[in-house]
């Protein structure tokens, strides 16, 4: 019983991270209508930059984390300006391949600088808390708390602020926004910066938990993408649900089928794509 609970707790911790990454996909999709295959690289950039600022520049941990998120947001904005905007009007398949190209560049540039694996020191607090015979690490609690705060804040922002509503409207009908007199050049940049920041937040939260390296982004990005598709592309509650389902399925599943951990998330995604392509909580397709 406590073993099962332990798997559940671990799964929820990992799942929250996946949910956060999925929220980044969701934001780009809801505001620009595109799927950013480079989202995982923002996660990696966030983690790696926090390591660089904290361990090599000697900044305090919290400050490094915040700065890393800010710097990654700038990188996200640059990506929109340099690679995405010039391709406006191309087909979706072209945009997908372009974001794959972006992910190559970001990943490999970090790889040129360093191929080592890094880890941030643990976030403050007692090391572990016992829950009904299972233990939950403080890292996981931080991830749960901050992760849900971020997703909640994002949801409220998109739904209840003027800027948030405008961003969502932009994905629906760019021309209508323009007719209303909104200059929409800055908005996609903002949207990309914001989703890069959310990805980076996931990155700085995961780096005290596991090793981060230039190769990690792709793997984490794919998991987040799985979560987003599973929950329903574009739906924030869906992203959270998808992240949790994949996190739990992975930790429990890999206990049963060891060696097939990578297969689990994608099998779930294929099943959902084939039976309910709009995802668990997706409304329309």
């Amino acid at each position: 019983m406590s073993a099962l609970l332990q798997y559940l707790l671990t799964g929820i911790g990992i799942g929250t991270l996946y949910a956060l990454i999925a929220a980044g996909f969701c934001l780009t999709y809801n505001t620009s209508g595109i799927i950013n295959f480079a989202q995982g690289e923002f996660v990696m950039l966030g983690g790696m930059m926090a390591v660089w600022l904290h361990q090599f520049q000697g900044l305090p941990l919290a400050m490094s984390m915040v700065l890393a998120i800010g710097l990654t947001a700038l990188a996200g904005m640059a990506v929109e300006r340099l690679a995405i905007r010039p391709a406006r009007g191309s087909g979706m398949t072209t945009l997908i391949i372009i974001t794959i190209g972006v992910s190559f560049i970001l990943k490999a540039l970090v790889g040129v600088v360093t191929k080592d694996e890094f880890q941030l020191p643990a976030l403050p607090g007692p090391t572990a808390v016992a829950v009904l015979g299972a233990t939950i690490t403080v890292q996981t609690l931080w991830i749960l708390g901050l992760g849900f705060c971020i997703v909640l804040a994002l949801g409220l922002f998109l739904k209840y602020t003027l800027l948030g509503t405008t961003l969502r409207a932009m994905a629906e009908d760019r021309q209508a926004i323009r007719n209303l007199g909104v200059e929409s050049q800055a908005l996609p940049i903002l949207a990309f910066g914001l989703s890069a920041a959310i990805g980076a937040a996931a990155g700085v939260l995961i780096t005290p938990l596991t090793q981060m390296s230039w190769l990690k982004g792709t793997e984490l990005g794919l998991k987040g993408f799985c979560a987003a598709v599973l929950g329903g592309m574009g739906s924030l509650p869906g992203a959270v649900l998808g992240g949790l389902v994949i996190g739990i399925a992975e930790t429990c599943g890999s206990a049963v089928f060891s060696g097939y951990k990578e297969v689990i998330a994608f099998t779930l995604v294929l099943v959902i794509l084939y039976t309910r392509p709009q995802g668990l909580l997706g409304g329309r397709l």
């Binding site: 191309s90 190559f104 540039l109 598709v229 392509p277």
Partner: protein
Amino acid sequence: MKRLLVLVALMCVPLIVFRGTMSYYLSLMTMTGISAIVAISLNLLLGYTGQISLCHAAFFGLGAYAAAIASVNFGLNAWIGLGLSCLLPAGVALLVGLPTVRLKEHYLAMATLGIGVIVYASLRADPFGATGGPGGIFAIPSLELMGVKIDNDISRHILVAAVLVVVYVLCESLIRSRFGALMQAMHASPKAVSSLGIDLEAAKLKVFVLSAALAGLAGGLYCFCSPLAYINPDDVASVMLSVKFIVMVVIGGSMSLLGGFVGALAVTWLPEILRAASAWVPLANPNDFETVIYGVVLIATLLYAPQGLIKPGGARAHG
């Protein structure tokens, strides 16, 4: 016809030029030819039909493993192995294809990526002790044609070049056929095609299965022509390899089969060129820049020259 001659020339000249101490470059051209078969198969799907596939390395890998398992684990004749290398990926594509081809755009990208990851991870996980896990399969026998063993650089290159030319001719005539026109029409205007009462999904599935079979054939050739007589999941089925195949098609020219070959040439030779360039430009590790260059070239091509290096070919090809 002119393009076919260019292809034949590019595959034959290395046989004369890269002799003796330069035989390494001949084997590189052999690998180029094998990649070109996959690129051409992806041309049909991505370029002409407009369907993205992020799982072509999975079909390539399934082909390679089908051939290796048949000839090593079961001791079957290598030619039977090569036949299976077409049939297994085609069968898998048929199985997963029907639900997959219904999907569009990023859903299709996601589903094919999922297939790619599942195949790669399964090959690594060593199901039924058949694939040898991450280590792969060793001591693969060579093909034999009329008593002559195809076990050296030259004979392997001739085999690959011959298969490449046959594949090229077949695919070229497919594109020029009625079905080829349908493929291109599906890409340009799926609504128009389905309003004519044509079953889009069935047509897409046919292209998907054919493309998978060709990629698998290339995998089978790789299995028997790899100089080390050895395959492993990272070399033949990684997701990165799937993306490399996409890079080949995009930069070469997705709407021309010769473009597939030219793309394969560029991607296969890039590490060599980087190594040569590092003699002039001091770089810590030239191969680090390989992936950066793929990314930059990929984006630059799509933004500034979406047709790729080789312009669309084929009588009916346009748009």
